[in-house]
């Protein structure tokens, strides 16, 4: 009797173990089921490289290039801000900070990661957006730049914690060897620790960027939502994620617009898939 029970328990455990594969496949299947239908009316290349996104005009123009550019611009800005600051903070926490401050800082970074994106978006709206407007003397502060700054704060916790892990896992002997040769602490960090942890740091940066590309609410609230190809960082843009979030509520189930939004979902899914798999390769490459 107990044997039978254990047999079932172990089968159940196996099934649950496979659940994550099942859900990834399920997500991809259902995105495809709804999203691929859009290619009955638009050719894939025209969809990806079309310069006009007018989903509700007659006939609908479904080109997501402006949205891709919006996402890229905001992400690039966030990366430029968050990568140096994030990596420097990781070095500070793992190498320089005294033990007590280290614990506090780590908890602080964790809390930053926990702040809901809608709260950050709200705070961005009421503080950052007016600042950007008055500093640059532009008609609206809802710009790609505001989005980049806010998103940088969402990427930093990921970058800091993964990079800090990478630095921590560098063997102690490397450091001791460098010290024994008379190197200063900073020389050791710069010439020994950072190169030794480089693949982990690359992974950290990639995961941070992945977080930024997928971020939705804050971006929708502070980038101004204009689906045109941006020519500067001080104009409103609209990202892939914000388009889905803003328009799905109005799209009729089964309409061309609805299918197009799912197709954008496929694009996002594939981007995040590539980023995560590559980052994982970098993480496993270390040593």
């Amino acid at each position: 009797m107990r044997k039978i029970k254990e047999f079932f328990v172990e089968k159940l455990i196996l099934i649950c173990g496979l659940a994550s594969i099942f859900f990834v496949v399920l997500i991809f299947l259902f995105l495809s089921k709804e999203g691929l239908a859009v290619f009955r009316s638009v050719r894939p290349l025209d969809f990806l490289l079309g310069r006009n996104w007018y989903p509700i005009s007659e006939p609908a123009q479904l080109g997501i290039l402006p949205l891709i550019c919006g996402s890229l611009l905001v992400t690039l800005g966030a990366a430029i801000i968050s990568i140096p600051i994030g990596v420097a903070c990781a070095v500070y926490i793992s190498e320089v900070a005294p033990l007590k401050i280290k614990e506090v800082l780590k908890a602080g970074i964790e809390l930053l990661a926990a702040i809901p994106s809608v709260v950050l978006g709200f705070i961005g709206m009421v503080t950052l957006v007016p600042w950007v407007k008055s500093i640059f003397h532009i008609p609206t502060g809802l710009t790609a730049l505001s989005g980049s700054i806010m998103l940088a704060f969402m990427a930093m916790p990921t970058i800091v914690s993964v990079a800090e892990d990478a630095l921590y896992s560098v063997p102690k002997t490397y450091k001791e060897g460098a010290f024994a040769l008379g190197a200063t602490h900073w020389q050791t960090i710069w010439r020994v620790m950072l190169p030794a942890a480089s693949s982990g740091i690359v992974a950290a940066v990639m995961l941070g960027i992945g977080r930024v590309i997928g971020e939705t609410m804050a971006v929708m609230m502070i980038t101004g939502n204009a689906a045109v190809i941006p020519h500067s960082i001080l104009v409103p843009v609209r990202t892939l994620t914000a388009t889905i979030a803003a328009e799905m509520g109005e799209a009729v189930v089964g309409s061309e617009h609805y299918f197009a939004l799912f197709a954008i979902g496929i694009v996002l899914f594939i981007i995040s898939f590539i980023i995560n798999v590559t980052a994982d390769l970098f993480l496993h490459n270390r040593r």
Partner: protein, 282 residues
């Protein structure tokens, strides 16, 4: 020699500057929200329905909605996540299947939250015909927090020393008995940490519930799991972007309630983990 010392000083200065650049704004964000939100918080704000087109009254339905959603998500995700973690730490061999499972978990945790929303819409709302409902929203959130629960629970299970298992097995206990009576009890604090982190994440996310459950304005409490519901993060989004002329105080108040809820859960998780690490005897 003096030169290298000086460059070290300059370098360390910039490192601490970078750290301040992260820590100070975070502190400011929290302080601003507390300072401007606190005056809005009173008993009526927490227990009344929104009135006058959400420009007055309270946020009670949104609090209740978020509570139901989080509860539903954890009821779905905890058993599956825990069993998956048991599989990975106790049963899985180091083979290609194990590698694929780990890759799948990494991917699940990287999928953008709005894509979860699309998926929930396609699968639960349209395909299963649950409609926009607490059920659809909870299941969507549940799948989203699954990787958090699996990863933290697995770490907790793996940190139980191998010798515990060996002793139990050598006393004649079966593998499942060993897991059930020896490994699990020793891993509970870690599992709890993961669960609470998952709860916090589910409570704060907006994009996955946009099309699966969230109601713009619903001045009553949901009666069944097939009803729509208001939710705190979506409510904050609505009153700060969709409804004009909402009193600043109400916006900050809502942000404060949401932030407190999420940070409180994270703080509990951090404390449990800290105490557990300190008490650990092995």
């Amino acid at each position: 020699m003096r030169n290298t010392q000086r460059s070290q000083k300059i370098a360390f200065f910039f490192l601490s500057l970078a750290t301040l650049l992260i820590v100070v704004p975070v502190g400011l964000i929290v302080v601003i929200i507390i300072q401007k939100g606190l005056p809005a918080i009173n008993w009526q704000f927490l227990t009344d329905i929104p009135r006058q087109g959400m420009r007055a009254g309270g946020i009670f339905p949104a609090i209740v909605g978020t509570f139901y959603l989080v509860l539903g998500a954890i009821i779905f995700a905890l058993p599956i996540g825990l069993l998956a973690a048991i599989y990975l730490s106790e049963y899985a061999k180091d083979n290609i299947l194990n590698r694929i499972i780990k890759l799948a978990i990494i991917n699940l945790s990287g999928v953008p939250s709005v894509v979860y929303g699309l998926f929930g819409l396609a699968l639960f709302v349209v395909f299963f015909k649950f409609g926009a409902s607490i059920l659809s929203g909870s299941l969507t959130l549940g799948i989203m927090i699954l990787p958090i629960i699996i990863t933290t629970s697995r770490e907790a299970l793996e940190s139980v020393p191998q010798s515990f298992r060996e002793v139990s097995l050598s006393l004649g206990a079966s593998k499942w008995q060993t897991i059930r009576h020896i490994v699990l009890p020793n891993a509970i604090p870690g599992i709890l940490t993961g669960t609470i982190l998952g709860l916090g994440r589910a409570a704060g996310e907006t994009a996955p519930i946009l099309f699966t459950v969230a109601a713009f304005y619903l001045p009553q409490l949901p009666k069944s799991i097939f009803d729509q519901a208001m939710a705190l993060p979506y409510h904050l989004y609505v009153i700060s972007t969709q409804v004009p002329n909402v009193d600043e105080k109400i916006r900050y108040g809502t942000a404060l309630v949401l932030l407190t809820l999420v940070l409180f859960m994270n703080l509990i998780a951090i404390i449990i983990r800290y105490n557990f690490r300190k008490k650990k005897k092995w």
